[in-house]
Each structure stands twice: as structure tokens, then as C-alpha cells.
Amino acid sequence: MTDTRTTAAHGGAIGLHGIKKWFGTFQAVDNVSLDIRSNEFFTLLGPSGCGKTTLLRMIAGFELPTEGQVLLDGVDISRLLPNQRPVNTVFQNYALFPHLTVAENIGFGLKMLGKPKSEIDSVVKDMLKLVHLDGRGNNPVTQLSGGQQQRVALARALAPRPKVLLLDEPLSALDLKLRKSMQMELKRLQLETGITFVFVTHDQEEALTMSDRIAVMSTGTVRQVGSPWDIYDRPAERFVADFIGETNFLEAEVISVSGEKARVRLSSGAEINATYPEGITPKGKVTIVVRPEHARLGSSGSGMLEGVLDDIVYLGTDNHFHVKVDGGSTFIVRQQNAKSGHCGFSEQERVSIAINDDVAQILRD
């Protein structure tokens, strides 16, 4: 295992430059440029059909970009065949070879690279240990459980020590509990091997949990790239804010801008500070977002927005309060149930909402 760490200490950096991909008349990827750093856990997040898998397949070499370049450590690999790229894939359905044993599956890549048997055997042994499948080497893969097959697929892709590991929704077939533990497992493997991971998922929670950086995609384009914190707390546009987590959209008017913050006035007349995305200077009417957990519910007259408590949704750990704000829209407040018993509010009661300091974010138009 030390072996794995030292030889693959430098994960490859991927550069995507102006990538476009057409399938007939359908454009799957539209002018995507991304820089994925070395040793990074990078996630492509988006709804199905957003082009994230196509992008991944172009890095792997299964699809060729119609336009643009794929760089690996600065070298153009756009036209190389999959078997010429030091990049391996963990497939969504694992794609394990059903006629081979666990060990034969894991050793397949090294065998194809012409490595001597002794080396293959020792790497396979290390890999089995790495994914906690010691002693299962001679089992047929068809007899393994879903989670075990998943780990074999991981080991198979890691065994040739690729510069970049591509993961195409690898956890989607697992049940919730297994998925949670595999998330931690993947993060651990990425840290231990030092390989750059490019992870494709439509599950925002998965993306937030594991990633160093996330690129949110929609209809073939990248909408925002940033750390999980950036993406969640500082969404740049409506799609990103809406796709990740629950959120409240409010109409507001910019009063003044100073440094990284702007002062905005809500429809109720209350004023709050809001951050705004890079590259714009907010002015006039804007939309701001406030996450449900960034607001507090209080008795009428104590906050910034007034309304009627429409609905209380009890979620065990939290309560969701759906407030019909005066003037029309619904605002959701999420509060943790720190104490047991009743939350202290009742439906149809008039309440007011207070928004925490420095949590609002102005959206790009």
C-alpha cells in the first residue's frame, strides 16, 4: 500500500478547453472549460441529461469531443484511444467481467499492460486489502453483493495506478446505508492514493459530502464551479440555488454596494446585507436566496418578514415551517428540534421571520 501511495503521489490535472459535443443534432456539451487540479476530488453535479456523463466519457476516451481539447498534465489527449490514456473508470453498473474471478478482474488492467505475474499478484493483494476484500480473490464476481462488487470495480480501476480515476455515478445502485459508508470509503481512498478523482453524480448530498470542488452542470454547460461551501452558501444563479438543497427566493432592491457586500431592501421594507457573485455589480431589483436554516421564526412583529404559518412539517431532527409571507410568496424556515416536545408555534398563527446576518446571496440574472 505504501507502494501505491508513493508511485501515484501525483494525480493528474485535467484541463478541458472549449469542449463541445454534438450527437447528431443534439448538443450534449456546450463549450465547457474546466480545470481539474491534481490530487483533487472533483465532482460534476447535475440533473440527468445535463452532459456530465458525456464529459466524463470524453475524459475517458469513449467519446471524442466535436470541438475542444482534453489535456492531461498539459498534454493534449483528446484523440487518444481509451487504452492509451492513463485514466481508469468506475462504471455506473460496475461492468465487472462476469467470467473472471475477483482477482482476475482487479489484475486485468495490469495484465493488459504486460506486467509480470509476480507484480500483478502483489498489487492485487494490496488492492484487495485496500478495499477490505482480503481472501475473496478467488471468488467469482457474480457471487458478490452489490457493495462488494462496487469495491471490486474500484480496486480494478485503481490497480493500474491511473493518474485520474473517473467515477460515473458509482453509488447510485447501492442502498442508503451502504452509500453513506461508501462515500467515506471513496474519500479515504482518494486521500490514501493521491489520485485525482473525477466523480459524476446527480445527488447533491453526495457531492457536498465528498468533493473538494464541484462543478454544477445544466443543459450541457457549467453553471458554477466552487467548493461545496461556495456552491451551497453562495450560489451564483437560480438553477444552482434551486438544484442544491432547499432554498427561499426573495425579491429585493439594492440600496448600496460596499466591498463584497450589498445592502438590499426586502419587500417588507426591512434591510439586510447580502453577498453577490463575482463579476457583477448588483443594482436595481434583484433576487436573493436565503437557505431555510438561515432564518428564525419568531412571534409576530419581531422579525423582518411577516406572515401566516401555513404548515408545520415534522422531520424528527428538524421542523419545517411553511410561512405564507404577506404579499404572496411562501418562505420555509428550518429549525432544529433541540428540545423535545412541541415547537411552540401552531398553524394559522401570525409569525415573523428573522434572517441571520450575512447569509443572503444575490443571484446573477
Binding site: F91, A95, P98, M112, Q143
Partner: protein
Amino acid sequence: MVSPQDVSEQRQKKEIRDRWFLSAPALILILAASVGPLVIVLLYSFLAPGNYGDVKWEFSTEGWFNVLFSRDIFDDTVSLADAHFLIFWRSVKLAFATTIFCLIFGFPTAYFIATRAPHNRSLWLFLITIPFWTNMLIRTFAIQEVIRSEGIINTLLLKIGIISAPIQMMFTDFAIMLGMTYVFLPLMVLPLYASLEKLDFRLVEAGYDLYASRFGVLWRIVIPLVKPGIIAGSILVFVPALSSYVVPRVLGGGKNLMVGNLIELQFGQGRNWPLGAALSVTLVIIVLFAMLYYVRNASKSGGSAHG
């Protein structure tokens, strides 16, 4: 009192009875169409030949004796029946070669069809099966038209000047093999296609991803996974090729007999039905052993979990 156990036992009995009842049509058909004729052939092989064909109803091993030995008509000396061995050997050889050639041509064909868009596949399959609609005799004569001395190939080559005299292709083993490969090719393509169609092509991608070359993917992933199709296709080609009658008759002429022709001869001009029956049974035994050997070997050399 009826206990739940009794009820379930009764139900089980009824189920078994129903199963037999429901499968009766198939069983009767198998008995009448497969086992029955075989028993008759086996019975005839132990009878004495009649004077004008047919059989005399008396026990005789003469038929079986004649499979292996021939008795001189003048002095009754016994020698090995070389001609029979030669014909059996040629049949096995040609049937084997036909199977190999069908595999060589059939595999890429089936692969091609299996990798087309789903709505186009049926068209290609349809094209593959079209020759089946034509009488085999006519198709064989068509082959003759291509390869005979004044046929298309020789005329063309003579015209271009590559050869000065026509190449003798008719009435050779080559002609028989060519004809059989053509006639039996669909029998190879269809089961191969059935296997290839089920192949998960994501495994092919996984193979490329793990640095396998095109050949590596074919040899280590595709072929092991479609082995059931290869086995089925090979059996479907080898068995009828071994007992082929029309093709060697038309393209092999009178000289290059195969077992099928030899057997026909005994029931026709030879007027030795017991010998014909014994030869038929011998053929069945050869096929059985060849299949046993082939299937056992094919499944052994593959992966332990699959197939």
C-alpha cells in the same frame, strides 16, 4: 383432520401429475420423431439384407461386420473396409473445416449485426435468412455455376489473363467445403447473434479502459462471454455438415463421397439396408462423441463461473 402438511403434499403430487400431463405433447413428439426412428434403424442394422433391398427378419451381425470389414466376393477373404474409413475420415475433416470457416465468416457477421441500431438488426437478420427460403438443391447448383470450369470465376480469370486454363474446382473437397460453408453459415450466425446481442457492450468499454487492445478485448472478454453461442453454432453446423448429402452429391461428384452419400448408396443401388442402418448408427455415435468431447472441452477452458 387434514393437516397443512397433507394439503401441501397433495398439492405437490398434483403439481407433478400436472407437469407430466402438460409436457405430454412434447414427450410424445420426441418419442415418435426422435427415439422411434432411431430404434427402427438400430433394429434394421441387426437384420439380414433382402434380395431386392428391404430386410429379412432374421438376426444377423453382417451389417455391422461390413462397416469395418469387406469380404471378397470370390474367395471370401476378409480385409478392412478402407473405403469406409476414408469416407468417414473425409466427412469428419470436411465437417470440421466447414465449422471453422463458418465461425470465421459468421462471427464478424453476427458481431456486425449485433452492433447495429436495434431497429436495423431485424433487417440484417432477415437478409441472413433469405437463402433459407430457396431450395438447398438450387442454391448448391448456383454454387456450381460459380466454380465450374466454364463458371463465373474461371471465365473471369481467363478473360483477365491470370490463368491460361480453367482451375478445376468442381468435384474436389474444396468445392464440398465451400458449398457446405455457404449453406450452413446462417446456422452459425443466428446463435452467435443471439449470444452477442445479450453481450453487455459496457464490458467492452471496460476492457478498453483497462488498456486491452482490440484483440485483447475480443479474446479475453467477447469470446469467453459468447462461448455458449459459439458452442451452439458449431454443433448446429458440424452435425448436419457431417451427414451432408446434397452438397457432396452435386459438388463432389461421384468420387468424393461423404457418409451421407455412402449411406444413401446402401439403401439405393447397394441394396444393403442393414449395412446402411449400421453406418447410420455409427454416424450417430461419432456425432455423440464429438459433441461430448467438444462441449466438455469448451466449458473447461473457459472461466469457472461462466457458461
